[in-house]
Amino acid sequence: MELVLDIVSWVAIGFGLFFMLVGTYGVIRMPDVYTRLHAAGMTDTMGAGFLLFGMACQTIVGMMHGHTTWWMALVRLALIYGFLLLTSPIATHALARAGLAGGVKPWTNDGEVE
């Protein structure tokens, strides 16, 4: 049981790191604000989600090793993820709206929009 939890948590942390690095590379690589927002949103949901899930598995392993008070960490992890799920789309939406209001033109394949 403990071995299974260990393997699951490391696979989840590995996936989380992969999504986080790819998404942040997209933030550098993409051509304008709106496409970069898409890449950044990926790191918030998939990257942070997998990383926090891996940490939750490690918390359960720690509880098996006698850290009886670590159940509080599970509550905190759930709170952090729930809060990220709430705030990340709001921040992305506000950024896109502020960008449009500030006059940033969306990038298109054949050059700038009129």
């Binding site: 986080m20 933030v27 490690q58 918390t59 990220l84 960008g99 209001a101 500030g102």
Partner: protein, 94 residues
């Protein structure tokens, strides 16, 4: 293994900082700082597990709250030119 996670998050933070420095518009910079803050939350959480003290998650939770409020405040400032609701309502009434 949490060391690998910490190093990966640090690399991602470096890339987000690169975009914050390069960013042609102010919205690029705000977005880069926002993602940087999310990664800081995760780095604090990972540091707590590195030290075998998950109580650090409280700090991560507080940082997530502050990060979101800061981003919205800065965006409001750049979108409307001020943070006050009353002055904006007065301007729209004119």
């Amino acid at each position: 293994m949490f060391v690998v996670a910490a190093i990966g998050i640090l690399i991602a933070m470096g890339m987000a900082l690169t975009r914050a420095l390069l960013g042609p518009t102010v919205y690029d910079r705000v977005m880069a700082v926002n993602t940087f803050g999310t990664k800081t939350v995760l780095l604090i959480a990972v540091a707590g597990y590195l030290a075998e003290r998950p109580e650090f998650l409280d700090l991560a939770l507080v940082y997530a709250l502050i990060n979101f409020i800061g981003t919205i405040a800065v965006l409001k400032f750049f979108e409307f030119g001020d943070l006050g609701l009353i002055t904006r309502l007065e301007r729209e009434a004119e």
